[in-house]
Amino acid sequence: MSADSFAENWPEIAVRALKANDVRLVAYVPDNVLAPLIRLVHDDPYFTVVCPAREEEAVGIVAGAYMAGTRGIVLMQTSGFATLPNVLASLLSPYRIPVPMMISERGAVGDFQLGQAMVCRTMRPVLTALGIPHFAIERRDDVEFVVGSMIGQAFATHEPAAMILSPLLTKKPVPTAAHAAAR
């Protein structure tokens, strides 16, 4: 971890981890929680960024790019992941194509849309049924280690990987200096 990491929030750290692992292609379907990360990759010439119409399209693009020598990642939210079981089971897993996925977890806690909550409950059972490695990131301090480790593992083992961005990371208020002083 670099000396200035406490000046960074999770999107800046995630960008650093992507660069450290030579991940140059980002395909995403928009999500409000991911918006700061999406802005960062759009503004950074290191990345080629594609915004297709569906998540499975994004997986196809990143899979094709991988086979042609460019590493990529797919960004999506939970409901987008719920559209993916077919492509995961019929393309990524049998062909052993390492496509890392970063999924912002909606519907876990404090979501007032019942549909989001119910879709969220399908994500881990699907990942488990398909045997796809997945790990939830809950703390800013863990972002660099988990993102770097999961991407490295995916490319070394030729398996997809799901990094789940927990609301504990993305939504829970960060304690301010005043809070810390009061304790």
């Binding site: 119409a53 693009i61 790019a65 077919n86 492509v87």
Partner: protein
């Protein structure tokens, strides 16, 4: 070929041809290790039957994703020409991909659409192209100006020739019959991926 000539062929005036024959004609013109992504079912079966080039990718599942995969290959290797072979039913399932290709505008990508108006492999149920949908019209409306129906075999070959030399992205629509494919792809996905990557000069 000027855009006016591309627009001159309507779906109704296009000859009904044969997928295996056209696939062989396409592959016979590939001399620079062009990549070819064969879509689910008969599209990749006929690609397999045309000769197992290392630069061919046979997509056994993931219906609708031949074009996105080809787009990824084209973006990663801009010096290589890339063809996606996709059926009408598959493209109908992933129409947004045409817009994504138009927005990215890869000059090295060509899409071939095999249109027989049916889900041939599942029992020849009709697709929407058998009623109202004109996929070349949809491609143009998505922003892919260099889209054309192939009038006949000779025109198909001339469109392929254009796609090999000129700036794309290209979309070539071919009306085809309901003949069975000329072969069946070997079902070993990991081997297909490894061979394809070696064919593209990528260390797997």
């Amino acid at each position: 070929m000027p855009d006016s000539e591309l627009r001159s062929v309507s779906r109704a005036s296009a000859k009904v041809m044969n997928r295996a024959d056209l696939t062989r004609r396409l592959v016979a013109r590939l001399e620079r290790e062009e990549a070819v992504i064969g879509g689910i079912g008969n599209s990749n079966f006929d690609l397999w039957a045309s000769g197992q080039r290392p630069q061919n990718f046979y997509m056994l599942g993931s219906m609708g994703l031949a074009i996105p995969i080809a787009l990824g290959v084209a973006m990663a290797q801009p010096a290589r020409r890339v063809f996606a072979l996709e059926g009408d039913g598959s493209l109908l399932m992933e129409l947004g991909a045409l817009g994504t290709v138009a927005a990215q505008a890869p000059r090295n990508l060509a899409i071939v659409v095999w249109d027989n108006g049916m889900y041939q492999i599942t029992g020849s149920q009709k697709t929407l192209t058998s009623s109202t949908v004109d996929l070349i019209g949809v491609a143009r409306a998505a922003g892919l100006a260099r889209s054309s129906w192939a009038l006949d075999e000779a025109h198909f070959e001339s469109l392929v020739e254009q796609a090999l030399d000129g700036d794309g992205p290209w979309v070539i629509g071919a009306r085809i019959d309901g003949e069975k494919p000329a072969g069946t792809t070997e079902r070993d996905p990991a081997k297909i991926r490894l061979r394809f990557m070696q064919g593209l000069g990528v260390a797997a």
